[in-house]
């Protein structure tokens, strides 16, 4: 099985240290993957379909068509938004023959074709499914990490399309945290949205959603957060400071992407991962827990 990595826009262009951690982890576990080249934006499931659904389907189908040439390969992505778009486009074009025909009419102009059923998987799923093997590489268990796991919306829903984990009572990420030696801390609003998508149209509303989320974390005794989506990452990492200013809160929770926590547990140094580029600095926590000196 070969994996084609669909990187998307946000991780490479905004938080490349997450990409860095993923590449290190993949190399360590010997994952057979290569980058999927010639891609466009997935496109953003919370943005482009609202402007023009047809264009969203067409660009999404184009991205999927790039994999047609690689028989037997699975697309993997670190972004819940990309996974949702690619799976939903697959779904819509398989259900609606007329849409598929229309999209293929456009794709013909660039010599491409959507033939359907390209398997797509979130990296969180890939890791969970190989957890027993991956656990063998843990050399520095995440002792003292009290993690508020944030599943985010599109990692789980709509479950009929995403087909991964229980949308009401998800467990996979919590189990990964435990397997890495950390502790998953329950908190209020755990399954709520981070507030990111609606920021494009109503910042006040978005802030309210984010506040609820972070307040839940604050009341729980967690000392950091885990996310599996770059939109959740940037939003929860970037927003704490501005909310502290506006709302006089004192949020100070380092946000980690899943592969960053994995990499730390595998013994990679924060310095080599680029953890310093986080907005909410993780240095204090990492020093305290003996992950930095």
């Amino acid at each position: 099985m070969e994996y084609k990595l669909f990187w998307g826009c946000t991780i490479p262009a905004r938080i490349p240290f997450v990409e860095n951690s993923a590449r290190k982890v993949f190399k360590k576990i010997g994952l057979n993957y290569s980058d999927l080249e010639d891609t466009t934006c997935c496109p953003d499931p919370t943005g482009l379909p609202a402007v023009d659904q047809k264009t969203w389907l067409t660009l999404g189908a184009r991205n999927l068509s790039l994999v047609n040439d690689y028989n037997n390969s699975t697309v993997i992505s670190l972004c819940s938004g990309c996974v949702e778009t690619l799976k939903t486009v697959n779904h819509i074009l398989n259900v609606h023959g007329d849409k598929r025909e229309e999209v293929n009419k456009y794709l013909t102009k660039i010599g491409k074709k959507f033939s359907g059923n390209v398997p797509v998987k979130h990296v969180g799923q890939l890791i969970y499914e190989n957890l027993d093997e991956i656990k063998k590489y843990v050399v520095k268990p995440l002792k003292g990490f009290k993690v508020a796991v944030h599943y985010g919306c599109h990692f789980l829903r709509p479950s009929e399309i995403i087909e991964w984990d229980d949308p009401d009572n998800p467990k996979t990420l919590d189990e990964i945290v435990t397997a890495l030696g950390g502790e998953s801390i329950p908190y209020d609003n755990k399954l709520e949205c981070c507030g990111c998508p609606v920021g494009k149209s109503d910042e006040e509303l978005s802030n309210k959603i984010t506040m609820q989320k972070l307040q839940g974390v604050a009341d729980s005794g967690a000392n950091c957060m885990l996310v599996v989506c770059p939109a959740c990452f940037t939003h929860l990492d970037f927003k704490q400071k501005s909310l502290n200013k506006e709302m006089e809160t004192q949020f100070d929770y380092p946000v980690f992407y899943l592969t960053e926590l994995l990499a730390l547990a595998m013994g990679f140094k924060p310095k080599d991962l680029g953890v310093r580029y986080h907005v909410v600095k993780a240095k204090k926590l990492l020093l305290e827990l003996g992950f930095m000196d």
């Binding site: 990187w7 826009c9 946000t10 490479p12 262009a13 905004r14 490349p16 240290f17 990409e19 860095n20 590449r23 980058d35 080249e37 010639d38 891609t39 466009t40 934006c41 496109p43 953003d44 499931p45 919370t46 943005g47 482009l48 379909p49 609202a50 402007v51 023009d52 659904q53 047809k54 264009t55 067409t58 660009l59 184009r62 819509i92 009419k105 456009y106 794709l107 102009k109 660039i110 919306c153 599109h154 829903r157 709509p158 479950s159 949308p167 709520e192 949205c193 507030g195 998508p197 609606v198 920021g199 494009k200 149209s201 109503d202 509303l205 978005s206 309210k208 959603i209 680029g274 580029y277």
Partner: protein, 164 residues
């Protein structure tokens, strides 16, 4: 004020988004919607679906009652609707019509422009290119400009972006 029924709109929605016809207005969607809760029911997904079924195009796309752009796309309504109504996809169709009517938040246009020009929602800045080098990350090979332009011309997206 009288509400105008747009029969073309109603027909279009009911035929394409067939799941709309299954809505029995139970309100499960609104009951679990985080935005409905935070706006004390001002925003209400059930009402959007109702207006689609009734063909109240003006109410939805001009008056923005309820304002479909307030949906956070969390997909809870889709998950819990007992009738399998594809709410968020239906909302996308409503939003597409809002865009045509010039009623949309600017951030959507900005993202659309970025995708039109570079194929990417977030083009690389020089600072990030340097940071990537420092981290030892490879240069990303993305889609060719001319290919994206051909495709976006074909779907009518370039024209749409120019006209809105």
């Amino acid at each position: 004020m009288t509400l105008k029924i747009d029969f073309g709109f109603r027909k279009q929605f009911k035929t394409y988004k067939f799941s709309l016809n299954y809505c029995y207005q139970c309100g499960t969607c609104s009951g679990g919607c985080p935005v409905a809760k935070l706006t004390n029911g001002d925003y209400n997904p059930r009402k959007i679906i109702e207006a689609c079924i009734l063909g109240l195009k003006e109410k939805l796309t001009t008056l923005l009652e309820p304002n479909v752009w307030q949906c956070s796309t969390c997909q809870k309504c889709v998950e819990y609707c007992p009738q399998g109504v594809e709410l968020t996809e239906i909302f996308d169709h409503v939003k597409n019509l809002c865009v045509e009517a010039g009623n949309y938040p600017q951030a959507y246009k900005a993202q659309g422009e970025a995708i039109r020009e570079k194929g990417s929602a977030i083009p690389m800045s020089n600072a990030i290119i340097k940071r990537r080098e420092r981290l030892g990350l490879p240069v990303m090979k993305t889609a060719s400009h001319s290919e994206i332009q051909t495709l976006l011309r074909e779907t009518g997206f370039i024209k749409k972006m120019e006209s809105i």
